[in-house]
Symmetry: none
């Protein structure tokens, strides 16, 4: 099972709407179960550097089937996964990446959002994920 | 002047519709005047290897402000731009990438399409570009 | 649908046996439907440089759902896909990579073999693929 | 002296069995004395991001002939090998990589395991290494 383009676009549009509502400018990426890109959108005026970060957050969330922020708590100096970010051509391990599950709880992809504080990134990613439930 | 997200999404949706009409499954990318990704869509079942190619075609078209296929004619063995593909973390120089101009003829971005023959890729890219005129 | 580890290991063992029968030393890689590595084996004394080639052949075959050698015929100087090898962090487009289909004809992964002539590489890859039919 | 494919496969199978016994899904890689990949297996449902991590753990353990976790204690901020992970196209320096010695104590390769906590990764790697004694 994989995220479809239609599902990805609906999630992205919802995330864009949530960003606008909050007055934010975001980059939003959706990957499928194989961690391959399905859809992407950069809102007008959003940070250029967040293109890559949004994509890496989505991939990271699917790579390890957990929120990116959870990995970041383990990858700190002294932590169990210190410097895990050097793998897979670069991970992003702060909040904003969330796995996407289908109605049966199977992970079928992930979303990554970047463009504001990590709290806002996570909030907007959650809005995108909510379209799958 | 830059491609807006709204314009990019309209171009992508038109390209998706053109692909469906032709029975094709495409990857479609739009970059802005800075050659940075604005929007992307992979149709269900489209080649995974074309994610990167569609993005590279769009970037290549904006990097040099010409159709990707034109560069490919110059990058052949013995040609003036032999192996230019080694630059910029990899160019794609066969057809499917086209610059996007605004109504005044100014280049404001580019589109890249990959997933079928290069003729079909170019045809679908043209359908996306046509939304700007 | 994805290649399972059990299926991948059976395909690899069969390919190893075929190589031994032919007096060859091969590297053999199997990827799943998402082009992610499932299994790999390097026979004793096989070329070191073929580790990466076998993996890239398997990925390339899944990236475009065709035998790697078919892409290589299109990527020659003057060909429609000249220098496509610059995409996806490096493709390998000579024979030895073959998509894997399940009994219903759905592509569920790919195999890549490297270590001898491209004819031998392809023959050994075919032996691995045959375990899925 | 080098790990043979037969030895690598036996170690991988033992590690897979240990993982199953513990209810874990692991990626397991074995490299030879030259730090080149010999064998690899990803168990069904194991993390995709751990493909690269398992391989990097095995290489890291052979690069420096010590357990990966030992390097990680030296690569912390202020430590003697701070950020050594930037070398060799990316090291992984938390537990799960162990050098492999032959019966005479000579290092002939290494194993890397990734897919669970670093403690579990190390335990499963030890099960693989034990097949060489």
């Amino acid at each position: 099972m994989n995220v479809s383009l239609e599902q990805a676009q609906k999630a992205i549009q919802t995330a864009v709407a949530k960003s606008s509502e909050l007055g934010l400018k975001m980059n939003i990426a959706v990957v499928d179960a194989g961690a391959n890109l399905v859809g992407f959108a950069r809102m007008d005026g959003a940070w250029l550097g967040s293109v890559d970060i949004a994509i890496k957050k989505a991939k990271t969330a699917r790579f390890f089937d957990m929120n990116t922020g959870e990995i970041g708590q383990l990858s700190q100096p002294g932590g169990a996964l210190y410097n895990i970010e050097h793998s897979n051509n670069g991970l992003i391990t702060f909040p904003g990446g969330i796995p996407i599950k289908n109605s049966e709880g199977l992970i079928i992809g992930a979303i990554g959002v970047s463009g504001s504080t990590v709290e806002n990134d996570h909030t907007v990613a959650q809005a995108g994920v909510a379209t799958f439930s």
